[in-house]
Every structure is written in C-alpha cells, then in structure tokens.
C-alpha cells in the first residue's frame, strides 16, 4: 500500500500587485521512500515517491516537476509566477501508484 500523501501547504505573498513576479512556495508531507533502503529483515523497502507536481492557473499549466527519489522527504518546491490578473491556482501531487492530492489557492491582486 502506498504511503499517505499528507496535507499540502501552499504559500503566496500576502500583497501582490499586477505585473509583479511572485514566488509560490509549496510543501507536502510524504516519506519519499527511495527503494534503496532495507528493513530490519533485510528486505528492500519498495520505492514510493511523489513523482509529479503540477501547478495550473485558471486551468493553464504554469509549472511542472518530475521528481526522482533524490528529492528530500516532504518535498518543498518553490517557483515563480508573473501575476497579471486574479484567478485560481490548482496544485496537484501524484505518487508512484497514480494517487493524487490537490490544493487550490486564490490569487488576489492589491
């Protein structure tokens, strides 16, 4: 059974002006099991990672990332975005088993 995909956390700047390039920070709880480790009985613990992250704004893909086992547990991903208009972000994290978890966040302009 795949490890649980924890609660995602997304942070946008509090005050955003139109035209400004902002940083969007994301964090999700996940073990990111590499598939390289062994348990106490010497059996390989199977790989189980978040392998894909996607960020969409108003349905359009803005940024995506393919993750390998070399990404730390509880993946932290931050990227940039040019805020031209208000709208809705949708962030999706998908694991090896194809299960996913999403979060949404509204972008408001000052």
């Amino acid at each position: 059974m795949a490890a649980p995909i924890g609660q995602p956390r997304v942070r946008l700047p509090a005050q955003v002006r139109a035209g400004e390039v902002i940083e969007i920070r994301t964090l999700i709880s996940h073990v990111m099991e590499t598939g390289q480790r062994r348990d106490q009985a010497g059996n390989v613990i199977p790989r189980d990672i978040i392998k894909r992250f996607e960020a969409k704004f108003e349905g359009q893909l803005v940024f995506a990332m393919d993750l390998a086992p070399a990404i730390s547990a509880n993946p932290y991903i931050a990227f940039q975005f040019r805020a031209e208009r208000p709208g809705r972000f949708e962030f999706t994290w998908t694991n090896d088993a194809g299960e996913s978890r999403s979060a949404t966040q509204e972008l408001r302009l000052a």
Partner: protein, 153 residues
C-alpha cells in the same frame, strides 16, 4: 611480532597533503562524469553541445545533512512566448541514480527560477542542464561537500 608494517606518520602526512592538493584543483564543468551520469546527461543532450553560462546554481558548499540540501536554479531568460526556458534537468554525480528532478517551465512564470531540497548520499557534484525554447542547451555544475551525522563523507 608485527608482520604488517604500521603506516608511518610521515606516510600519513604525505597522503593528507596529496589529498589536499587534489581538493584545491578547480573543477571544470566539463570534468569527466561517471558513465551512468554521463549517459543520463547524454540522453538529454542528444547531439547538442551544452554551453556555459546563463545558469545560476545555488547550493551550500558544505551540507551538514545530505538528506535535505536546498538548491536554487535560476536561468537568465526573458521568459516570453518567443524566448524562454522549457526544461531544467538536475543530476547528482554520486547518488545511486543520477536523476534528481526535471522542471518544466512556461512563459507564465515570468522568471526562470525554481527551489527545491534534494538528497545527496555523499560529497559530489550537482549538474544542471537548461533547455531553451530554440533548442539551445546550457549547463552548470557545483560541488557539495556532505557531512552526514558527523561521519564524514
């Protein structure tokens, strides 16, 4: 009776000095990569030549904990529809597998910069390849010394 000769102090000092001299040599971005790492880089590169420049790869020179090493990759680019970074590939030269991440960028970002945290199993280089919309390729490389739980590395 000792049948094996114990290492002399002088011998040990000589070895340490030689190791220090090697560590002080600059690391060119084109320095030889392990075959598995070179193969992974070549899969991205194809028949293109990677140029130096445009990429800023920030990573700590010394990482106390190899389980979570912060890296920032930024690429000089106007990030317009006609001229932007499409993909950034991150490799680690001394991990069990060389691939670390692929970032897929779009002009909507406005600035080509991504931060994440990576695992480094030992002291090694991080290699970054950035693909531009016109197909051109840039690369950067930096060494991270890893100290895991004080065991050295």
């Amino acid at each position: 009776m000792h049948t094996l000769k114990a290492p002399t102090r002088r011998g040990a000092m000589g070895l340490a000095a030689a190791a220090a001299a090697v560590a002080l040599l600059p690391m060119p971005a084109s320095a030889q990569l392990a075959p598995a790492v070179q193969a992974a880089v070549d899969r991205v590169r194809g028949n293109r030549t990677a140029q130096e420049g445009r990429i800023t790869l920030r990573a700590p020179p010394i990482a106390e904990n190899g389980n979570t090493v912060p890296i920032t990759v930024s690429v000089e680019s106007p990030m317009t529809a006609a001229d932007h970074v499409t993909r950034v590939h991150v490799f680690a030269t001394g991990n069990p597998t060389p691939e670390v991440a692929v970032f897929h960028l779009t002009p909507a970002m406005g600035r080509a910069q991504v931060d994440t945290r990576i695992r480094l199993g030992q002291t090694q280089d991080v290699v970054v390849l950035a693909e531009m919309q016109d197909g051109s390729l840039f690369q950067a490389r930096t060494e991270v010394k890893v100290t895991i739980g004080g065991c050295g590395g």
